[in-house]
Symmetry: D2
Subunit: 147 residues, 4 copies
């Protein structure tokens, strides 16, 4: 069985160095599970993500989908800070109330140049998803001068 | 447990009446499994879907993704021929060789007006998916004059 | 010729009441042009949207695409706070440097229940777009009890 | 001013060799305009694309969107048969009646590895679009052993 190239602890530490506002002591994000081809990430509820009507903003869900896929890619290929999102497509399914969000990513393809994954987002304690995204990352190796 | 509103046999018969070239005796499509919130559909290999290089065309996969979602919607809400695709987004992951394709649909949302689902397409006998689509159907009830 | 149902000033005032952090005196967003089927919105540069490497975050662009479409919908149909995003699909094309972003929206469809538009995002002073999004809003009239 | 790398006539001839059923004497497709960063393609009406209700199938529009982008890519970079679609996202806006379809493609990005474009599809003689797609092609040079 192939293991993730990085452990959840290592990734937390590395991401906390690069994105302290998201993964540091005050950050809302934590990695709950890491597999070779997927992961689960929790985004703690923050009042500043609420919109009129008491639901969490779409932007907070898009941001969570994007970072969850980034984590899945890093776990699969190692620390490659040259992976960039090229496409993200999200369907908003239900309005999430003021609770934590849980994002589950499954890698659909991990090629040499492109990684594709899907992310399903749940409101903590609810069974039906609140959003579903598919996203593509372009991977550039450090030795690769082309883009 | 909630059952599908239509059985696979009923759906085959109804769809064969409307789309004889797809579901009739000569059609390539067959419903392999029907659940309350999803289904699996087989598309038998046809030589006319091959492209130069010996792979099945993207159009054949887009068509399969669309009809598989349609079957899942009909199974869930009954025979409502007024459901129309409003969005389809597909990622092509690997090139499928000359074999049957299997499409697995999971409904993500079944609202009064919109149904959203994801479809993962496999090449028969292979483990990794060859394509993944998300798609939205707009549902119009017969009593509904608005669009 | 059909005019927008709301002027840019009216919209600024209404949106500033609902989203003071985005449209108020300290907000980064301003409506530069409003047409019957489209608009242009400027997002002033803010240092907190920068990512490592000195480029503006994808989340800032997704947020801008979403709000620009919302403005175009409100301008076309009037103040209907029940419009919600159901789908947003974005392609990231180039990395925007530390400058204002300009988003141009064109409505592709304005139905009774769904509005579809495309948004092209530019980095101020550059000719090539940095991102392109298509997005769908579901419109619910206040007299409409269905969803 | 930069010209297309191939003329419409050259492309017709090359595509007719590879896809005779689409571009040959009996094919439905013709290139109406070719620019350095876009093109317009006509798909002649064929009765076998009609669906119950008298509208052209979504599959016919997806196929047209895909091939129109392919033509725009080839015109921009030359005859590179190794360009493959990686993503196609389409919104169906209105139901097209039994007429020719016109597809207009605009390249949004032409990188060394990825090309992104948008395609707007019209029903001949109508002003409002019937569908809008964005699509990504992955470009592999013949000297490129990586994928």
């Amino acid at each position: 069985m192939t293991l993730p190239k990085l452990s959840a602890d290592e990734l937390h530490r590395l991401l906390g160095g690069e994105f302290p506002q998201m993964f540091g002591a005050k950050g809302a994000l934590s990695i709950e599970r890491l597999e070779q081809r997927g992961c689960r990430v929790r985004q703690a509820f923050r009042a500043n993500t609420l919109r009129p009507g008491g639901t969490i903003s779409g932007v907070a869900m898009m941001s969570l989908a994007d970072v969850t896929m980034y984590i899945a890619v890093l776990a699969a290929i190692g620390w490659v800070p040259l992976a960039v999102t090229t496409n993200l497509s999200i369907n908003f399914l239900r309005k999430p109330g003021p609770r934590d969000l849980l994002a589950e990513c499954r890698l659909l393809k991990l090629g040499k140049r492109l990684a594709v994954g899907e992310v399903t987002i749940f409101s903590d304690g609810m069974e039906e998803p609140v959003a579903h995204a598919t996203t593509t990352y372009s991977i550039r190796r450090q030795t690769d001068s082309r883009w």
